[in-house]
Symmetry: C2
Subunit: 244 residues, 2 copies
DNA sequence: TTCAATCAAATGTCATGACAAACTGTCATA
DNA sequence: TATGACAGTTTGTCATGACATTTGATTGAA
C-alpha cells in the first residue's frame, strides 16, 4: 500500500482528473510505483488530494484504459506489469508520420498531382477521377534504407511542396493545416521484393517485406490520407498492444 | 436530428449505461442511425430515457471509444462513417483463438511438454528451465492451409489434450480453465517460407509469409500464452483500427 | 457590406450523496 | 476439522446540481 505525493493545480486549465492520471502514469513508468503495488482505495485517495470521488474515478479509469493498473471490486487497485504498458501502440504504427524529416532521413522521390485510380479515390472517399497528391518517399535510418512509402492525399487537405516535405515531414505539414489525424485503419501483410523495391531498399529481389496499407482519418472520420508502405522485414515489425 | 426508441430494463443486472450504449451501437451498425446523423443532446436524451446525465454520458463515452460517434463541444454528437467502426479490432487479431476447432479446421501436429528455451520462458515470465506445453497446429480454411501455429503455455494454466484441442479449440479450453485472456502484446512482421513451412502451407519455398508473435495476458497482466504463427501472405493480413 | 460583440446551445468538468455487488477474511457451528 | 454465514472493504452504478468552455449563429454597429 503506497501513498503518492502529487501536486494539483486547481487554477490550471488542465482537468483535475488528467493531472492526477498523468502523475500516476509518470510514477508508474518511472518505477516509483513498481508492479504489484497496491494503491490506496479511491475514497481515501480522493480525500488525500481534496477531490471528489467521481473525479478520482475518472483518473483511475484512464489508467485502466492505458493498461497501467487493474482494479477488482472488493479487492483494490494494483499496478500492472511492464509487458502491458499501452502507449507504445502509436509509436510503432505512426512513426513514419510523427518523426520529423531530419535525423531519420526521408528522401522525397516523387511529388505530383495525378487523377486517382478508382481504388485510391474510393479509399479517400473522393468522387471517381478526382485529382490527388501522389508522393513516394524513401525512409532511411542511420543512412540505411528502411521503407519505401507511397501516399495519396486529397488536394484540399493541405499544400504540399518538396521542400516542405523534406524539412518538416508530412505529419507536421498536415498538423499545421489543421488536420487532427486521430484515427487510422491499417492492414499489415507481407510480400517479396520486386526489382524496384529491391534496388531502393538495397536488398535482394525476393527478400521478405512487411507491407502496410493505411487510411488516415481525422476526428470526424473523414479520410485525409491513404498510404502503401513496404518495410525491410529484417529491420522492421509492427508492435501492437491489444486490450479488452 | 433523430430520436431513437429504446427499451430500458431497470431490473436487469446489466448496467443502464451499457443497455443504452448497446442499443445505440446496434442502431448505428444496423443503419437505423446512418452516418452524419445528429443525435439529440445528452440532456434531453437523459430525460427521454429517465436517466441521469452522468449515466447518459457514460453510455456516450463508450460509443466514442468504439469509434461510432464523434462529440464536439458546443456542437453536438454525430454518427461517424463506417470506415471507423472499431469492434473489428479483435476479430482479425484473435480469430486463431476464438474460432472453434471445427469448420475452419485445425490439425494438431504436435503436443508435448518440454523444457522451455530461455526466450520462451522469459516471454511467459517463468523461471529458466521451466516445463511448458509446446503445440504446433495447422489451420485450414476451406480445406486449404492458411497458417502454421506454434504455441507455448505454462503447465499451470490448463490441462491440454490432443482430443480437447481438436474438438474445442485452445481458446475455449483456456476459458473453461478460468483464464480471462483480455490483453495481448503482438508483433507483426514478414519472412519467406523455409522448407517445412512451404510444404505444410503448400506454397513454394521463398514465398512471402506474415509472421505474428503474441504474448497473451490475463486481466492482471500475467502471461498465459506465447505464440509464433506464420500465415500465407496471399490469404491473410492483419486489420487494425487505431484511435487517438 | 463587413466585422465584432453578444447570446444560445451543447458538451466538458467537478462535487456530494447513496446504494449495490464482489471479494476476503473471520468466526461460529456442525 | 471443515464448512457456511456474516461483516468489512473496495470498486461499480446511479442520481442531482452547478459552473465552465467551446462553437455557431444572430445581432448590431461602423
Amino acid at each position: 500500500m503506497v501513498e503518492l505525493e502529487i501536486a494539483i493545480d486547481r487554477s490550471s486549465p488542465i482537468p483535475l482528473y488528467h493531472q492526477v492520471a498523468s502523475a500516476f502514469d509518470k510514477a508508474i513508468r518511472d518505477g516509483v510505483l513498481p508492479p504489484e503495488t497496491k494503491l490506496e482505495n479511491e475514497i481515501s485517495l480522493a480525500k488525500r488530494y481534496n477531490l471528489s470521488r467521481p473525479t478520482m474515478r475518472q483518473a483511475m479509469d484512464q489508467l485502466v484504459r492505458d493498461g497501467l493498473v487493474v482494479r477488482r471490486r472488493g479487492v483494490g487497485t494494483q499496478v500492472i506489469g511492464p509487458p502491458v504498458r499501452r502507449n507504445l501502440r502509436l509509436s510503432s504504427l505512426y512513426n513514419d508520420l510523427q518523426d520529423e524529416g531530419a535525423d531519420p532521413e526521408t528522401q522525397v522521390l516523387t511529388l505530383e498531382t495525378i487523377t486517382a485510380e478508382e481504388s485510391i479515390s474510393e479509399q479517400l472517399g473522393l468522387p471517381k477521377g478526382a485529382e490527388v497528391y501522389h508522393l513516394k518517399r524513401l525512409r532511411l535510418v542511420d543512412n540505411r534504407p528502411l521503407a519505401l512509402m507511397e501516399n495519396w492525399l486529397p488536394l484540399t487537405v493541405a499544400t504540399l511542396t518538396r521542400e516542405g516535405l523534406e524539412s518538416d515531414g508530412l505529419y507536421n505539414i498536415l498538423r499545421r493545416a489543421g488536420v487532427d489525424f486521430r484515427m487510422a485503419q491499417q492492414k499489415v501483410g507481407a510480400d517479396i521484393a520486386n526489382h524496384e523495391q529491391a534496388s531502393r531498399l538495397k536488398v535482394d529481389v525476393g527478400s521478405a517485406l512487411v507491407v502496410m496499407e493505411r487510411t488516415g482519418l481525422d476526428s470526424s472520420g473523414t479520410p485525409v490520407e491513404f498510404g502503401h508502405h513496404v518495410y525491410r522485414a529484417d529491420r522492421y515489425s509492427f508492435d501492437i498492444m491489444l486490450m479488452n
